[in-house]
Amino acid sequence: MSALDQPQVEASLEILLRDVQPRLKVLFARYRIPPQDTEDIVQQALLALIYQRQAIRDPVAWMMGTIRNKCLLYWREQRRKLYDAVDAAVLEFMAEPTAPDQEEADLRRDLTHAIEQLPERCRSLLSLRYSQGYEAPELAERMGYSPSSINKITTRCLAALTRHLVASGILCE
């Protein structure tokens, strides 16, 4: 590569970026990504494109595919915050030391009922979590999952439980 090649590379990137800009805007709008959160997504994708340019055949398709995937990951991450909050709230309910016996019994019954509505593997996992207080490594060991997959499975189960609890609550007055 000679020094003369460099402006050409920059020019081709600039053309590519201008070409892809309208499509990116529509993509972000469709995925409802707040503008302030798009900066990291675009920057990460473009840097990866630059670093791997030689291996990539169709840079526009690559970029759109990569950014679409990052938008999905963005929402999954946002949703994970929601699931974590619901999880923390349930754990707090369960640990409430001042709850009268009847109230605690009702709470456990409602939670058990909610968990019973979920698929089998979530039933086992969440029962261990809320009744025995198991953390992820213990859950993985007890249920025979690898440490790397237990977090994904826990998130899926928390997602299912969150839907159910948000729709019906666990302390109906």
Partner: protein
Amino acid sequence: MTDHPTPDALEQFILGQLSTAETREIAFHLLNGCPHCQQATSTLWEPADSFEDPTILDVICQEEDEASADGYDAVLDRVFDKVAATEAAFAAQRFQAGALLAELIQVPAERQHLLVTNSQRFRSRALCDLLVEESHETGFQDPRRAVELAKLALLLVDRLTAADCGGEDVRESLRARVWAQLGNAHRIHSNLNEAEEALAVAQELLAAGGVGLFDRARVLALLASLRRAQEQFAEALRLFDRVAGIYKKLGQWNLMGRTLLQKSLVCGEAGDIEAEMSLLRRALDLIDPQNDPRLFLAARHNLIHALNESGRSREAFALLFHSRPLYLKMGDRMNLLKLRWVEGLVAAGLHRHDQAEAAFREVREAYAGLGLDYDAALASLDLAGIYVAQGRTADLLRVTEETVAVFQSRSTHREALAAVLALCGAARQEEAGAGLVRQVSEFLKRARNNPNLQFSANP
């Protein structure tokens, strides 16, 4: 409960856009069982659910998208400027890395390690990239060197910081690729245990979640190749499906075609020749012959081979006729030899024994002349098949004895020698049939990358 969250707050709650404290507060409110807010949130899940399904997104009103898209211009302009500056810096860095690599490969191994470990000048992400590429390119010509280059890349990547790489994710992606390439080099060098260990580290990095989609596909493809070498065909097929899925997502049709070609090899080795041909046809639809003529020709070559193997030699002959210009266009010695070899195989399939014999002889002598004894031995076995078909027992014995002599003169491939000796023994007893020749030939092809394979002749 009287203080209900606002509709906006509920929407942001469902989309996960609130702070931890706000999220927690609304979560408590809902879990306490507020029918009003439960009702209000019931319809809010749908937009976020649709993000997981791109086909639903496609029907969302385009005008609405465009109207709300203008807010992104300022951010995109800012990022584009920043990235353009980074690209210029990266191009310069890559240019320097080429010079560093040239410098590095000229010095002895100990010195290479010293330079990579101690010299700040060599602490470059672009150099690490080049070492991975060079290791990959070198793989089949010089597997030992490919392993050394990958180990050097590993030494280097462990010294690179996130700042050297342009971010933690980029560094983790590079680390995963380096480990995967080391595993791949070990695989090609027939060290399957070392390959397994290296690729296990790459898999751990994938599981940690920081590796980008494109690098994930590259790592999984190398893992699938290892599973193929280990004859874990079902796992190899599953991994290639994941790789193809990623390339589809990224619109990389050529790479998807390459993946289907790799997957077809697994089907062929697993004995599913119909699936092999179907995948090769799909691969040929995806690979661009202008951009990647070598890959396109490889897929065509394999399809001709598979058609012939499945007894459809007339179709194989027709496809070969149309493909001949591609082989000639490539023009390199190895492709021309592949052409001559497949011409012999198709001629044998059509029972044109004289043509087949002439082709196999030519191929065998050319490979022997190039010092590629293993390929010469495989061509000899095809020649042996012709002699069996014609009942030429003396010629059969001669060609098998010649092959034994070649293997005996080399200390490698002990099991391959055992297989050829078994054939030679049967030829001496005038008991070598087409089935045994085929068994030995198939064994030699499989044992090539797996010297631990044991030969046992089936009756």
